[in-house]
């Protein structure tokens, strides 16, 4: 299948690297684009060469924009991996919309468009008989949607809760284990590249809330948006609070939970006490999810929630699912 990759940042590079190491011929990448232009070869790009040129900053771009590629090029799957904008979903939203209108399959890691326009995008995909998949948007490498679609097929999912932000989990883990205050650990996380220069998006729970919205809409059909999420971040969690929790054999974690129970509906991000022996008490940058089901009972998933190759793993699984549906 012909693949066009829109976005050549950390995730785009990861996808290219993972595809370049595959020996089968399931996928042929015909274009990779970034904000500066596009690299196109309708017979298939030499991915290792493109990666090398990108890293050396001497990529031979054609004079075409990402939108030109989305609208004009011949491809089967659009892999949309541009950065998330929680407010507008752009530019990814426009790329995805145009590709689905053309009846092309879309795989994305971009939370903005899925959280903002899930219903519309799924409607478009259904209308043009295309698949719209977004495994990489929640929990990075952790299988969530694919797990619920196939291995847990036939189960009614009753609730999902978990740790969906590695930055917050790193900060809370370090504070508890080293006895360091919030500000100090946050600076350390910035130096290590675990936290952004402006960490608001992570530490105030917005990233976790976006993922909850995606889960709420895609798994439970709830039709909710970011404003519907009850949200408290971790910036006021004190070192003393962590110590007091530790003395009672508990840790504090930023937990996102969605429970679509009519009047008692829960859609909430908040710091919570978790017993140290509980499977959700994972350390460092790990993510973890507890999926409660009718038949299988409680299912736990633990894994890396971010990272170039880890995210590419989720994207590849969506691409292979599309290839298997031909």
């Amino acid at each position: 299948m012909k693949v066009a990759i829109i976005g050549f940042g950390s995730v785009g590079k990861g996808v290219l690297k993972v595809l370049s190491e595959r020996t089968d011929r399931t996928f042929k990448v015909v274009a990779v684009t970034d904000s500066k232009g596009a690299v196109i070869n309708e017979n298939g790009l030499d991915l290792a060469l493109v990666l090398k040129q990108k890293n050396n900053d001497d990529l031979k771009r054609a004079n075409k924009t990402s939108m030109d590629v989305v609208k004009g090029l011949d491809y089967d799957i659009l892999v949309e991996v541009t950065p998330t904008d929680a407010k507008t979903g752009e530019p990814g939203l426009s790329y995805i919309t145009e590709a689905l209108k053309r009846g092309k399959h879309v795989v994305t890691s971009n939370k903005g468009p899925v959280a903002l326009k899930y219903k519309e995008l799924c409607g478009l995909a259904n209308k043009s008989n295309a698949l719209f998949l977004f495994e990489a948007t929640v929990g990075g490498a952790m299988p969530m949607f694919n797990l619920m679609r196939m291995p847990l097929a036939g189960n009614k999912i009753t609730s999902i809760k978990g740790i969906f932000n590695g930055t917050c989990n790193y900060i809370l883990t370090r504070m508890a284990s080293e006895g360091l205050p919030y500000d100090m650990v946050l600076s350390e996380a910035k130096e290590l590249g675990i936290a952004e220069a402006d960490p608001t998006y992570d530490v105030e729970g917005i990233d976790t809330a976006l993922k909850l919205v995606i889960l709420a809409n895609a798994v439970f059909g709830m039709d909710v948006s970011l404003d519907d999420v009850d949200r408290v971040g971790i910036s006021s969690v004190s070192l003393e609070a962590l110590k007091l929790a530790g003395e009672a054999d508990m840790v504090i974690k930023l937990i996102g939970e969605v429970y679509p129970n009519g009047e008692e509906r829960v859609l909430k991000v908040s710091p919570r006490l978790v017993p140290k022996s509980h499977p959700l008490a994972v350390q460092g940058t790990l993510n973890a999810a507890l999926i409660q089901t009718k038949l299988a009972g409680d299912i736990f998933v633990i894994g890396k929630g971010a990272g170039s190759i880890e995210t590419a793993s989720a994207i590849l699984s969506d691409m292979l699912y599309i290839a298997s549906q031909k």
């Binding site: 003393e240 609070a241 007091l244 508990m250 504090i252 919570r272 006490l273 978790v274 009972g297």
Partner: protein
């Protein structure tokens, strides 16, 4: 509340049902039944221990059992059976921790049973770990709801435990 009741049954068929029926008829949720067949008393009766949750009506239940010729040897009730730990962060002292505790204690169905505090400095935010007991799950829910309102009014961060009861 949770009630543990020791009964004595006659050693004839149908006695177990006769003993348990009134409990469930009275709205009791039976948690455990242990039938001590091997420990026959010198009166020739068989001891039975039943543990159940029931809100009220213990007096009439006892009479009903005795009217059925079932001896109630002893019973005890544990009033508070739900426990939860929460953590508060903020200006806990300045916002009157005593009032916070009193509001919970005065509900009649929940009480603060444990308090640990940490105050890093006079102008800094302090943190407190509070243990609460309540008479039942519903009452605990109400107590936590009350605490959420108090936290909102006093501008405190309330850190609640995750629900863990679905786990074994």
């Amino acid at each position: 509340m949770r009630i543990t009741m020791d009964l004595e049954l006659k050693d004839i068929p149908g006695q177990l049902v006769k003993a348990l029926e009134p409990i469930s008829d009275a709205g009791g949720n039976i948690v455990s039944v242990v039938h001590h067949h091997e420990q026959r008393t010198n009166r020739g009766t068989i001891p039975l221990q039943v543990i159940f949750d029931m809100e009220d009506g213990l007096g009439p239940l006892k009479e009903k059992l005795e009217s059925r010729d079932i001896k109630v040897v002893r019973f005890n009730q544990v009033r508070l059976l739900e426990h939860k730990t929460v953590v508060l962060v903020g200006h806990i002292i300045h916002s009157d921790i005593r009032d916070t505790i009193e509001q919970i204690d005065s509900t009649g169905y929940a009480e603060v049973v444990d308090l640990a505090m940490s105050m890093p400095g006079i102008s800094l935010k302090s943190s407190a770990r509070i243990g609460i007991n309540a008479t039942g799950k519903g009452d605990m829910k109400n107590a936590v709801r009350l605490l959420r309102n108090i936290a909102r009014e006093k501008d405190l961060l309330l850190i609640e435990p995750i629900e863990t009861e679905e786990l074994p």
